[in-house]
Amino acid sequence: MKLTIEEVEHIAHLARLNLTDEEKSLYREQLSKILEYAARLQEVDTSDIAPTSSVLPLRSRLRDDQPHPGLSRDELFSNTADAEANQFRVPPVLE
Protein backbone atom coordinates (compact mmCIF):
# COMPACT_ATOMS: atom_id res chain seq x y z
CA MET A 1 0.00 0.00 0.00
CA LYS A 2 1.54 3.23 -1.16
CA LEU A 3 0.24 6.69 -0.29
CA THR A 4 -0.98 8.78 -3.21
CA ILE A 5 0.20 12.34 -3.81
CA GLU A 6 -3.35 13.45 -2.99
CA GLU A 7 -3.13 11.73 0.40
CA VAL A 8 0.20 13.41 1.08
CA GLU A 9 -1.34 16.77 0.17
CA HIS A 10 -4.32 16.05 2.42
CA ILE A 11 -2.06 15.27 5.41
CA ALA A 12 0.04 18.36 4.71
CA HIS A 13 -3.14 20.40 4.65
CA LEU A 14 -4.30 18.98 7.98
CA ALA A 15 -0.87 19.76 9.47
CA ARG A 16 -0.75 23.24 7.91
CA LEU A 17 2.52 22.54 6.15
CA ASN A 18 3.35 24.11 2.83
CA LEU A 19 5.40 21.46 0.98
CA THR A 20 7.30 21.73 -2.28
CA ASP A 21 6.61 19.20 -5.04
CA GLU A 22 9.94 17.56 -4.28
CA GLU A 23 9.02 17.21 -0.61
CA LYS A 24 5.66 15.73 -1.52
CA SER A 25 7.18 12.97 -3.61
CA LEU A 26 9.96 12.34 -1.07
CA TYR A 27 7.50 12.06 1.83
CA ARG A 28 5.24 9.89 -0.32
CA GLU A 29 8.07 7.36 -0.67
CA GLN A 30 9.41 7.62 2.89
CA LEU A 31 6.06 7.64 4.71
CA SER A 32 4.83 4.71 2.64
CA LYS A 33 7.90 2.72 3.61
CA ILE A 34 7.55 3.61 7.31
CA LEU A 35 3.81 2.80 7.35
CA GLU A 36 4.49 -0.47 5.60
CA TYR A 37 6.97 -1.32 8.36
CA ALA A 38 4.43 -0.26 11.01
CA ALA A 39 1.84 -2.60 9.51
CA ARG A 40 3.52 -5.46 11.39
CA LEU A 41 1.64 -4.24 14.48
CA GLN A 42 -1.48 -5.72 12.90
CA GLU A 43 -0.02 -9.20 13.59
CA VAL A 44 -0.35 -8.67 17.33
CA ASP A 45 -3.56 -9.89 18.92
CA THR A 46 -4.75 -7.01 21.09
CA SER A 47 -8.42 -7.95 21.34
CA ASP A 48 -8.39 -7.97 25.15
CA ILE A 49 -5.74 -5.29 25.64
CA ALA A 50 -6.49 -1.79 26.87
CA PRO A 51 -4.53 1.05 25.27
CA THR A 52 -1.81 2.89 27.21
CA SER A 53 -1.87 6.63 26.68
CA SER A 54 0.28 7.29 29.75
CA VAL A 55 2.23 5.01 32.06
CA LEU A 56 0.85 7.02 34.98
CA PRO A 57 -2.58 6.41 36.44
CA LEU A 58 -4.60 9.25 34.96
CA ARG A 59 -6.28 11.47 37.48
CA SER A 60 -7.11 15.12 37.80
CA ARG A 61 -4.89 17.06 40.13
CA LEU A 62 -6.27 20.24 41.55
CA ARG A 63 -4.45 22.98 43.36
CA ASP A 64 -5.75 25.76 45.55
CA ASP A 65 -6.99 28.65 43.48
CA GLN A 66 -4.65 31.27 44.82
CA PRO A 67 -3.27 34.23 42.88
CA HIS A 68 0.46 34.23 42.31
CA PRO A 69 2.72 36.29 40.09
CA GLY A 70 3.01 35.19 36.47
CA LEU A 71 4.90 36.53 33.49
CA SER A 72 4.55 40.23 32.75
CA ARG A 73 2.84 41.50 29.63
CA ASP A 74 6.18 42.75 28.29
CA GLU A 75 7.70 39.31 28.75
CA LEU A 76 4.77 37.65 27.01
CA PHE A 77 5.08 39.90 23.97
CA SER A 78 8.87 39.98 23.89
CA ASN A 79 9.15 37.16 21.33
CA THR A 80 6.46 37.95 18.79
CA ALA A 81 7.16 39.08 15.24
CA ASP A 82 4.25 41.49 15.31
CA ALA A 83 2.25 43.03 18.14
CA GLU A 84 0.34 46.20 18.77
CA ALA A 85 -1.42 47.56 21.82
CA ASN A 86 -0.68 44.38 23.79
CA GLN A 87 -2.19 42.15 21.16
CA PHE A 88 -0.64 39.76 18.65
CA ARG A 89 -1.27 41.13 15.18
CA VAL A 90 -2.06 38.73 12.30
CA PRO A 91 -3.80 39.02 8.92
CA PRO A 92 -7.62 38.90 9.11
CA VAL A 93 -9.01 35.53 10.16
CA LEU A 94 -12.57 36.39 9.13
CA GLU A 95 -13.43 38.82 6.36
Binding site: R16, L17, Y37, V44, P51, S78, D82, V93
Partner: protein
Protein backbone atom coordinates in the same frame (compact mmCIF):
# COMPACT_ATOMS: atom_id res chain seq x y z
CA UNK B 1 44.59 24.03 33.45
CA UNK B 2 43.56 20.78 31.76
CA UNK B 3 43.95 18.82 34.98
CA UNK B 4 41.06 20.74 36.59
CA UNK B 5 38.73 19.59 33.84
CA UNK B 6 39.66 15.96 34.55
CA UNK B 7 38.64 16.04 38.20
CA UNK B 8 35.58 14.08 39.31
CA UNK B 9 32.62 16.07 40.59
CA UNK B 10 33.29 15.29 44.25
CA UNK B 11 36.79 16.77 43.91
CA UNK B 12 35.42 19.84 42.12
CA UNK B 13 33.00 20.50 44.97
CA UNK B 14 35.56 19.88 47.72
CA UNK B 15 38.28 21.82 45.89
CA UNK B 16 36.01 24.84 45.50
CA UNK B 17 35.05 24.71 49.17
CA UNK B 18 38.64 24.35 50.32
CA UNK B 19 39.69 27.23 48.09
CA UNK B 20 42.18 25.08 46.14
CA UNK B 21 40.82 26.76 43.03
CA UNK B 22 38.10 29.30 42.39
CA UNK B 23 34.91 28.87 40.43
CA UNK B 24 36.29 31.45 37.99
CA UNK B 25 39.41 29.33 37.42
CA UNK B 26 37.33 26.21 37.03
CA UNK B 27 34.83 27.84 34.67
CA UNK B 28 37.67 29.37 32.67
CA UNK B 29 39.36 25.97 32.41
CA UNK B 30 36.24 24.48 30.81
CA UNK B 31 35.78 27.55 28.59
CA UNK B 32 39.40 27.17 27.44
CA UNK B 33 38.68 23.62 26.35
CA UNK B 34 35.51 24.82 24.61
CA UNK B 35 37.60 27.35 22.70
CA UNK B 36 40.12 24.68 21.68
CA UNK B 37 37.79 21.86 20.72
CA UNK B 38 34.46 23.42 19.82
CA UNK B 39 35.57 24.18 16.21
CA UNK B 40 35.97 20.42 15.66
CA UNK B 41 33.11 19.11 17.73
CA UNK B 42 30.37 21.75 17.63
CA UNK B 43 28.68 20.64 20.83
CA UNK B 44 27.03 24.00 21.54
CA UNK B 45 24.39 26.11 19.84
CA UNK B 46 24.91 28.99 22.24
CA UNK B 47 27.79 29.83 24.56
CA UNK B 48 27.71 32.47 27.29
CA UNK B 49 31.29 32.75 28.59
CA UNK B 50 30.86 36.24 30.06
CA UNK B 51 27.66 35.41 31.91
CA UNK B 52 29.24 32.18 33.14
CA UNK B 53 32.30 33.98 34.51
CA UNK B 54 30.08 36.61 36.18
CA UNK B 55 28.08 33.79 37.78
CA UNK B 56 31.36 32.17 38.84
CA UNK B 57 32.52 35.40 40.51
CA UNK B 58 29.32 35.50 42.53
CA UNK B 59 29.86 31.88 43.53
CA UNK B 60 33.42 32.73 44.60
CA UNK B 61 32.14 35.55 46.82
CA UNK B 62 29.69 33.18 48.48
CA UNK B 63 32.42 30.59 48.92
CA UNK B 64 34.74 33.17 50.50
CA UNK B 65 32.03 34.25 52.94
CA UNK B 66 31.29 30.61 53.75
CA UNK B 67 34.94 29.90 54.48
CA UNK B 68 34.86 32.66 57.11
CA UNK B 69 31.58 31.44 58.56
CA UNK B 70 30.77 27.82 57.72
CA UNK B 71 27.51 27.87 59.69
CA UNK B 72 25.54 29.14 56.71
CA UNK B 73 24.53 26.28 54.41
CA UNK B 74 26.12 26.29 50.98
CA UNK B 75 24.26 25.29 47.80
CA UNK B 76 25.33 21.73 46.95
CA UNK B 77 27.02 22.39 43.61
CA UNK B 78 28.02 26.01 44.12
CA UNK B 79 30.47 27.07 41.42
CA UNK B 80 30.33 23.90 39.29
CA UNK B 81 29.82 24.48 35.52
CA UNK B 82 27.18 22.64 33.52
CA UNK B 83 25.86 22.56 29.95
CA UNK B 84 22.12 22.55 29.21
CA UNK B 85 20.47 20.95 26.19
CA UNK B 86 18.85 23.61 24.05
CA UNK B 87 15.39 22.08 24.56
CA UNK B 88 15.22 23.36 28.17
CA UNK B 89 14.54 26.99 28.90
CA UNK B 90 17.08 29.13 30.72
CA UNK B 91 15.62 32.59 31.32
CA UNK B 92 17.34 35.15 29.14
CA UNK B 93 19.25 32.66 26.97
CA UNK B 94 18.08 31.82 23.45
CA UNK B 95 16.26 28.50 23.15
CA UNK B 96 16.19 27.18 19.59
CA UNK B 97 15.54 23.45 20.04
CA UNK B 98 17.83 23.09 17.06
CA UNK B 99 15.12 24.65 14.88
CA UNK B 100 14.88 27.70 12.63
CA UNK B 101 11.29 28.09 13.78
CA UNK B 102 12.53 29.16 17.22
CA UNK B 103 15.45 31.26 15.99
CA UNK B 104 15.74 34.33 18.20
CA UNK B 105 13.31 33.01 20.84
CA UNK B 106 14.44 34.07 24.31
CA UNK B 107 12.30 32.44 26.99
CA UNK B 108 11.49 34.62 29.99
CA UNK B 109 11.50 31.74 32.49
CA UNK B 110 13.57 28.79 33.65
CA UNK B 111 12.64 25.16 33.23
CA UNK B 112 12.04 23.67 36.69
CA UNK B 113 15.05 21.37 36.27
CA UNK B 114 17.26 24.34 35.36
CA UNK B 115 15.83 26.42 38.18
CA UNK B 116 16.63 23.71 40.74
CA UNK B 117 20.17 23.38 39.46
CA UNK B 118 20.69 27.15 39.52
CA UNK B 119 19.49 27.20 43.12
CA UNK B 120 22.06 24.47 43.78
CA UNK B 121 24.69 26.90 42.51
CA UNK B 122 25.66 25.61 39.06
CA UNK B 123 27.25 27.81 36.39
CA UNK B 124 25.56 27.58 32.97
CA UNK B 125 28.19 27.50 30.20
CA UNK B 126 25.75 27.40 27.30
CA UNK B 127 23.10 25.46 25.45
CA UNK B 128 24.02 22.26 23.66
CA UNK B 129 23.30 21.12 20.14
CA UNK B 130 20.54 18.63 19.41
CA UNK B 131 18.38 17.15 16.70
CA UNK B 132 15.60 19.60 15.87
CA UNK B 133 12.90 19.29 18.55
CA UNK B 134 14.79 16.22 19.83
CA UNK B 135 13.74 14.23 16.75
CA UNK B 136 16.72 12.19 15.72
CA UNK B 137 19.43 9.78 16.77
CA UNK B 138 22.51 11.57 15.46
CA UNK B 139 22.25 15.37 15.97
CA UNK B 140 22.41 15.59 12.17
CA UNK B 141 18.89 17.03 12.21
CA UNK B 142 20.02 20.23 13.96
CA UNK B 143 19.38 23.36 11.89
CA UNK B 144 22.66 24.68 13.34
CA UNK B 145 25.08 22.03 12.09
CA UNK B 146 26.06 18.51 13.10
CA UNK B 147 27.90 17.59 16.32
CA UNK B 148 31.02 15.47 15.77
CA UNK B 149 31.92 12.55 18.00
CA UNK B 150 35.02 13.42 20.10
CA UNK B 151 36.29 9.83 19.61
CA UNK B 152 36.17 10.09 15.84
CA UNK B 153 35.23 13.35 14.20
CA UNK B 154 33.78 11.62 11.13
CA UNK B 155 31.26 9.85 13.33
CA UNK B 156 28.01 11.11 14.86
CA UNK B 157 27.82 11.89 18.56
CA UNK B 158 24.41 10.23 18.71
CA UNK B 159 21.24 12.05 19.43
CA UNK B 160 19.20 13.81 20.14
CA UNK B 161 21.31 15.01 23.12
CA UNK B 162 24.48 14.71 21.01
CA UNK B 163 25.83 18.11 22.04
CA UNK B 164 25.49 17.33 25.74
CA UNK B 165 27.22 13.95 25.38
CA UNK B 166 30.04 15.31 23.22
CA UNK B 167 30.61 18.25 25.59
CA UNK B 168 30.99 15.92 28.58
CA UNK B 169 33.18 13.44 26.65
CA UNK B 170 35.50 16.23 25.47
CA UNK B 171 35.71 17.71 28.97
CA UNK B 172 34.13 20.94 27.76
CA UNK B 173 31.66 20.58 30.64
CA UNK B 174 31.76 18.24 33.64
CA UNK B 175 28.00 17.64 33.54
CA UNK B 176 25.11 18.26 31.21
CA UNK B 177 21.35 18.03 31.12
CA UNK B 178 19.74 16.15 28.25
CA UNK B 179 16.32 14.74 27.49
CA UNK B 180 15.27 11.22 26.54
CA UNK B 181 12.06 10.53 24.61
CA UNK B 182 13.25 7.39 22.82
CA UNK B 183 16.89 7.06 23.89
CA UNK B 184 18.12 10.61 23.44
CA UNK B 185 20.27 10.61 26.60
CA UNK B 186 21.37 6.97 26.64
CA UNK B 187 22.32 6.53 22.99
CA UNK B 188 24.58 9.63 22.72
CA UNK B 189 26.07 8.75 26.12
CA UNK B 190 26.89 5.32 24.71
CA UNK B 191 28.31 6.71 21.44
CA UNK B 192 30.49 9.24 23.31
CA UNK B 193 31.65 6.99 26.16
CA UNK B 194 29.97 8.83 29.03
CA UNK B 195 27.32 7.98 31.62
CA UNK B 196 23.73 9.09 31.03
CA UNK B 197 20.47 8.65 32.95
CA UNK B 198 16.94 8.48 31.60
CA UNK B 199 14.85 8.73 34.78
CA UNK B 200 11.44 7.19 35.47
CA UNK B 201 8.68 8.98 33.58
CA UNK B 202 6.90 11.16 36.14
CA UNK B 203 9.90 11.67 38.38
CA UNK B 204 11.26 14.81 36.72
CA UNK B 205 9.39 17.98 35.84
CA UNK B 206 8.79 18.76 32.18
CA UNK B 207 7.95 22.40 32.90
CA UNK B 208 10.15 24.45 30.59
CA UNK B 209 11.03 21.42 28.48
CA UNK B 210 9.89 22.08 24.93
CA UNK B 211 7.38 19.29 24.30
CA UNK B 212 7.94 16.54 21.73
CA UNK B 213 6.19 13.32 22.84
CA UNK B 214 4.57 14.25 26.12
CA UNK B 215 3.83 10.72 27.35
CA UNK B 216 7.50 9.78 26.77
CA UNK B 217 9.64 12.92 27.32
CA UNK B 218 11.85 12.96 30.39
CA UNK B 219 14.74 15.18 31.44
CA UNK B 220 17.95 13.30 32.22
CA UNK B 221 21.59 14.01 32.94
CA UNK B 222 25.04 13.14 31.65
CA UNK B 223 28.39 12.99 33.41
CA UNK B 224 31.54 10.95 33.16
CA UNK B 225 30.61 8.59 36.00
CA UNK B 226 27.51 7.11 37.56
CA UNK B 227 28.45 8.68 40.88
CA UNK B 228 28.41 12.16 39.32
CA UNK B 229 25.04 11.67 37.64
CA UNK B 230 23.71 10.20 40.91
CA UNK B 231 24.74 13.36 42.72
CA UNK B 232 22.92 15.54 40.20
CA UNK B 233 19.73 13.49 39.99
CA UNK B 234 18.12 14.24 43.39
CA UNK B 235 18.67 17.94 42.77
CA UNK B 236 16.73 18.29 39.52
CA UNK B 237 14.08 15.58 40.07
CA UNK B 238 11.01 15.44 42.28
CA UNK B 239 7.41 16.62 42.28
CA UNK B 240 6.68 19.99 40.68
CA UNK B 241 3.32 21.73 41.07
CA UNK B 242 3.86 23.12 37.56
CA UNK B 243 3.82 19.63 36.00
CA UNK B 244 0.77 17.55 36.92
CA UNK B 245 2.48 14.39 35.62
CA UNK B 246 5.18 14.52 38.28
CA UNK B 247 4.67 12.04 41.06
CA UNK B 248 5.14 12.78 44.74
CA UNK B 249 7.98 10.37 45.34
CA UNK B 250 10.92 11.73 47.27
CA UNK B 251 14.39 11.63 45.70
CA UNK B 252 16.79 10.99 48.55
CA UNK B 253 20.52 11.25 48.20
CA UNK B 254 21.90 7.97 46.94
CA UNK B 255 24.37 6.08 49.09
CA UNK B 256 27.02 3.68 47.87
CA UNK B 257 28.11 0.63 49.80
CA UNK B 258 31.03 -0.91 47.97
CA UNK B 259 31.55 -3.87 45.67
CA UNK B 260 30.04 -6.49 48.00
CA UNK B 261 26.66 -4.69 47.79
CA UNK B 262 25.90 -6.33 44.44
CA UNK B 263 26.04 -9.81 45.95
CA UNK B 264 22.73 -11.49 45.14
CA UNK B 265 21.60 -8.72 42.78
CA UNK B 266 19.42 -10.40 40.14
CA UNK B 267 20.39 -9.20 36.68
CA UNK B 268 18.03 -10.07 33.83
CA UNK B 269 19.56 -10.61 30.41
CA UNK B 270 16.85 -10.34 27.73
CA UNK B 271 17.26 -12.68 24.74
CA UNK B 272 15.58 -10.13 22.48
CA UNK B 273 18.45 -7.64 22.93
CA UNK B 274 21.11 -10.03 21.61
CA UNK B 275 19.73 -10.75 18.17
CA UNK B 276 20.88 -10.53 14.57
CA UNK B 277 22.05 -7.09 13.50
CA UNK B 278 23.94 -6.36 16.70
CA UNK B 279 27.63 -5.59 16.14
CA UNK B 280 29.87 -8.40 17.44
CA UNK B 281 32.08 -6.10 19.51
CA UNK B 282 28.99 -4.59 21.17
CA UNK B 283 27.57 -7.98 22.10
CA UNK B 284 30.90 -9.20 23.47
CA UNK B 285 31.58 -6.06 25.53
CA UNK B 286 28.10 -6.07 27.08
CA UNK B 287 28.30 -9.78 27.92
CA UNK B 288 31.75 -9.22 29.41
CA UNK B 289 30.41 -6.36 31.54
CA UNK B 290 27.60 -8.59 32.82
CA UNK B 291 30.14 -11.29 33.69
CA UNK B 292 32.22 -8.74 35.62
CA UNK B 293 29.17 -8.07 37.80
CA UNK B 294 28.42 -11.80 38.01
CA UNK B 295 31.95 -12.60 39.12
CA UNK B 296 31.39 -10.28 42.10
CA UNK B 297 28.26 -12.02 43.28
CA UNK B 298 25.43 -10.80 41.04
CA UNK B 299 23.13 -13.52 39.70
CA UNK B 300 22.29 -13.45 36.01
CA UNK B 301 19.08 -14.84 34.60
CA UNK B 302 17.89 -15.10 31.03
CA UNK B 303 14.58 -13.32 30.68
CA UNK B 304 12.13 -12.64 27.87
CA UNK B 305 10.78 -9.27 26.76
CA UNK B 306 8.78 -10.77 23.90
CA UNK B 307 7.30 -7.58 22.43
CA UNK B 308 10.65 -5.81 22.00
CA UNK B 309 10.51 -6.16 18.21
CA UNK B 310 7.38 -3.99 18.13
CA UNK B 311 8.95 -1.06 20.01
CA UNK B 312 10.08 0.69 16.81
CA UNK B 313 6.68 0.76 15.07
CA UNK B 314 4.86 1.55 18.34
CA UNK B 315 7.20 4.43 19.14
CA UNK B 316 7.25 5.80 15.60
CA UNK B 317 3.46 6.08 15.63
CA UNK B 318 2.92 7.32 19.19
CA UNK B 319 5.75 9.86 19.38
CA UNK B 320 4.96 11.48 16.00
CA UNK B 321 1.24 11.53 16.88
CA UNK B 322 1.99 13.41 20.09
CA UNK B 323 4.48 15.61 18.24
CA UNK B 324 1.96 16.54 15.56
CA UNK B 325 -0.26 17.94 18.31
CA UNK B 326 2.53 19.51 20.36
CA UNK B 327 4.13 21.26 17.39
CA UNK B 328 0.83 22.78 16.26
CA UNK B 329 1.76 25.75 18.45
CA UNK B 330 4.51 26.87 16.06
CA UNK B 331 2.56 29.15 13.79
CA UNK B 332 4.74 32.28 13.77
CA UNK B 333 2.30 34.28 15.87
CA UNK B 334 3.57 34.36 19.44
CA UNK B 335 7.26 33.51 19.04
CA UNK B 336 9.81 32.75 16.38
CA UNK B 337 10.13 34.27 12.91
CA UNK B 338 7.03 34.69 10.77
CA UNK B 339 6.66 34.26 7.01
CA UNK B 340 4.47 37.09 5.76
CA UNK B 341 1.39 36.41 3.66
CA UNK B 342 -1.96 38.07 2.90
CA UNK B 343 -3.91 35.17 4.33
CA UNK B 344 -3.59 33.88 7.91
CA UNK B 345 -3.60 30.25 6.75
CA UNK B 346 -0.72 31.00 4.42
CA UNK B 347 1.16 32.60 7.31
CA UNK B 348 0.84 29.30 9.18
CA UNK B 349 1.55 27.07 6.17
CA UNK B 350 4.52 29.06 4.94
CA UNK B 351 6.07 29.61 8.38
CA UNK B 352 5.82 25.91 9.21
CA UNK B 353 6.69 24.65 5.74
CA UNK B 354 9.80 26.81 5.43
CA UNK B 355 11.13 26.81 8.98
CA UNK B 356 10.64 23.23 10.16
CA UNK B 357 13.41 20.86 9.04
CA UNK B 358 12.73 17.76 7.00
CA UNK B 359 12.70 15.20 9.86
CA UNK B 360 10.30 17.34 11.89
CA UNK B 361 7.96 17.70 8.93
CA UNK B 362 8.22 13.97 8.30
CA UNK B 363 7.16 13.17 11.87
CA UNK B 364 4.38 15.75 11.89
CA UNK B 365 3.06 14.17 8.67
CA UNK B 366 3.39 10.65 10.07
CA UNK B 367 1.64 11.60 13.31
CA UNK B 368 -1.10 13.53 11.55
CA UNK B 369 -1.74 10.51 9.33
CA UNK B 370 -1.78 8.10 12.30
CA UNK B 371 -4.37 10.29 14.04
CA UNK B 372 -6.51 11.06 11.00
CA UNK B 373 -10.04 9.81 10.43
CA UNK B 374 -10.12 6.26 9.12
CA UNK B 375 -6.58 5.40 10.29
CA UNK B 376 -6.71 6.23 13.98
CA UNK B 377 -7.69 2.76 15.21
CA UNK B 378 -5.40 0.83 12.88
CA UNK B 379 -2.30 2.90 13.64
CA UNK B 380 -2.44 5.03 16.78
CA UNK B 381 -5.01 2.88 18.60
CA UNK B 382 -3.19 -0.37 17.87
CA UNK B 383 0.16 1.19 18.83
CA UNK B 384 -1.23 2.20 22.22
CA UNK B 385 -2.44 -1.36 22.81
CA UNK B 386 0.90 -2.90 21.88
CA UNK B 387 2.48 -0.31 24.18
CA UNK B 388 0.49 -1.95 27.00
CA UNK B 389 2.08 -5.30 26.09
CA UNK B 390 5.59 -3.79 26.10
CA UNK B 391 4.94 -2.23 29.50
CA UNK B 392 3.61 -5.57 30.77
CA UNK B 393 6.78 -7.35 29.55
CA UNK B 394 8.79 -5.16 31.93
CA UNK B 395 6.38 -5.60 34.85
CA UNK B 396 6.64 -9.36 34.49
CA UNK B 397 10.42 -9.27 34.13
CA UNK B 398 10.81 -7.19 37.28
CA UNK B 399 8.96 -9.86 39.25
CA UNK B 400 11.99 -12.06 38.61
CA UNK B 401 14.95 -9.67 38.49
CA UNK B 402 16.15 -6.43 40.07
CA UNK B 403 17.68 -4.87 36.96
CA UNK B 404 17.88 -5.65 33.26
CA UNK B 405 21.22 -5.34 31.47
CA UNK B 406 21.32 -4.77 27.71
CA UNK B 407 23.20 -2.96 24.97
CA UNK B 408 22.19 0.68 24.46
CA UNK B 409 22.37 0.50 20.68
CA UNK B 410 23.06 -2.32 18.19
CA UNK B 411 26.17 -0.52 16.92
CA UNK B 412 28.78 1.98 17.97
CA UNK B 413 28.69 5.53 16.56
CA UNK B 414 27.90 5.42 12.84
CA UNK B 415 29.39 7.66 10.16
CA UNK B 416 27.98 11.14 9.64
CA UNK B 417 25.59 10.84 6.69
CA UNK B 418 25.27 7.04 6.92
CA UNK B 419 21.53 6.96 7.63
CA UNK B 420 20.45 10.45 6.62
CA UNK B 421 18.72 9.44 3.37
CA UNK B 422 16.88 6.50 4.89
CA UNK B 423 14.76 7.52 7.88
CA UNK B 424 13.58 3.98 8.61
CA UNK B 425 17.16 2.71 8.94
CA UNK B 426 17.81 5.56 11.41
CA UNK B 427 14.68 4.66 13.40
CA UNK B 428 15.84 1.05 13.68
CA UNK B 429 18.98 2.27 15.50
CA UNK B 430 16.68 3.07 18.45
CA UNK B 431 15.40 -0.48 18.91
CA UNK B 432 17.03 -1.05 22.33
CA UNK B 433 16.30 2.33 23.90
CA UNK B 434 12.63 2.83 22.92
CA UNK B 435 11.12 0.12 25.19
CA UNK B 436 12.16 1.88 28.43
CA UNK B 437 10.41 5.07 27.27
CA UNK B 438 7.27 3.21 26.25
CA UNK B 439 7.20 1.45 29.65
CA UNK B 440 8.21 4.57 31.61
CA UNK B 441 11.05 2.78 33.41
CA UNK B 442 14.47 4.28 34.19
CA UNK B 443 17.62 3.44 32.23
CA UNK B 444 21.26 4.22 32.91
CA UNK B 445 23.85 3.99 30.13
CA UNK B 446 27.58 3.76 30.82
CA UNK B 447 30.75 2.76 28.95
CA UNK B 448 31.78 -0.92 28.98
CA UNK B 449 34.50 -1.04 26.33
CA UNK B 450 35.59 -0.06 22.85
CA UNK B 451 35.07 -1.66 19.48
CA UNK B 452 38.05 -2.54 17.24
CA UNK B 453 37.86 0.95 15.71
CA UNK B 454 38.30 2.56 19.10
CA UNK B 455 34.68 3.71 19.45
CA UNK B 456 32.98 3.52 22.86
CA UNK B 457 30.44 0.81 23.62
CA UNK B 458 27.67 1.42 26.13
CA UNK B 459 25.55 -0.86 28.27
CA UNK B 460 22.27 0.14 29.86
CA UNK B 461 20.73 -1.00 33.08
CA UNK B 462 16.96 -0.70 33.25
CA UNK B 463 15.07 -0.93 36.50
CA UNK B 464 11.56 -0.89 37.92
CA UNK B 465 9.84 2.49 38.05
CA UNK B 466 11.35 4.82 40.70
CA UNK B 467 14.29 2.50 41.34
CA UNK B 468 17.07 4.66 39.86
CA UNK B 469 19.01 4.03 43.07
CA UNK B 470 19.67 0.38 42.14
CA UNK B 471 20.88 1.38 38.68
CA UNK B 472 23.30 3.91 40.15
CA UNK B 473 24.58 1.55 42.84
CA UNK B 474 25.24 -1.19 40.31
CA UNK B 475 26.93 1.12 37.82
CA UNK B 476 29.09 2.67 40.55
CA UNK B 477 30.29 -0.80 41.53
CA UNK B 478 31.01 -1.58 37.89
CA UNK B 479 33.01 1.65 37.60
CA UNK B 480 34.98 0.68 40.71
CA UNK B 481 35.88 -2.59 39.03
CA UNK B 482 36.72 -1.20 35.57
CA UNK B 483 38.25 1.92 34.08
CA UNK B 484 36.35 2.38 30.77
CA UNK B 485 34.85 5.60 32.10
CA UNK B 486 38.34 7.07 32.62
CA UNK B 487 39.45 6.85 28.99
CA UNK B 488 39.80 10.20 27.22
CA UNK B 489 39.00 10.81 23.56
CA UNK B 490 42.09 11.50 21.40
CA UNK B 491 41.29 15.06 20.41
CA UNK B 492 43.39 17.05 17.92
CA UNK B 493 45.94 19.23 19.71
Amino acid sequence: MDELTDLPLNDLVSGLRAGEFSSRELTQAFLDRVERFEPWIHAFICLVPEAALAQADQADEKLARWRKNADTPLPQLLGVPIAIKDVLTVAGLPCTCGSKILEGFVPPYNATTVDRLLKAGVIVLGKTNMDEFAMGSSTENSAYGVTHNPWNLKRVAGGSSGGSAAAVAARMAPLALGTDTGGSVRQPASFCGVTGLKPTYGRVSRYGLVAYGSSLDVVGALGRTAEEVARLFPIFSGHDPKDATTVEVSSPEITFKGVESIKGLRIGVPDEYFVGGIQNDVEEAVKEAISVLASHGAETRNIRLPHTEFAVPVYYLIAPAEASANLARYDGVRYGPRKRAEDIWDVFRNTRGELFGSEVKRRIMLGTYALSAGYYEAYYGQAQKVRTLIKRDFEQAFEQVDVIAAPVAPTTAFRIGEHIDDPLSMYLEDVFTLPANLAGVPGLAFPVGFDRQGLPIGMQLMGPRFREEVLFQTAVVYQQLTDWHLHKPPLPQ
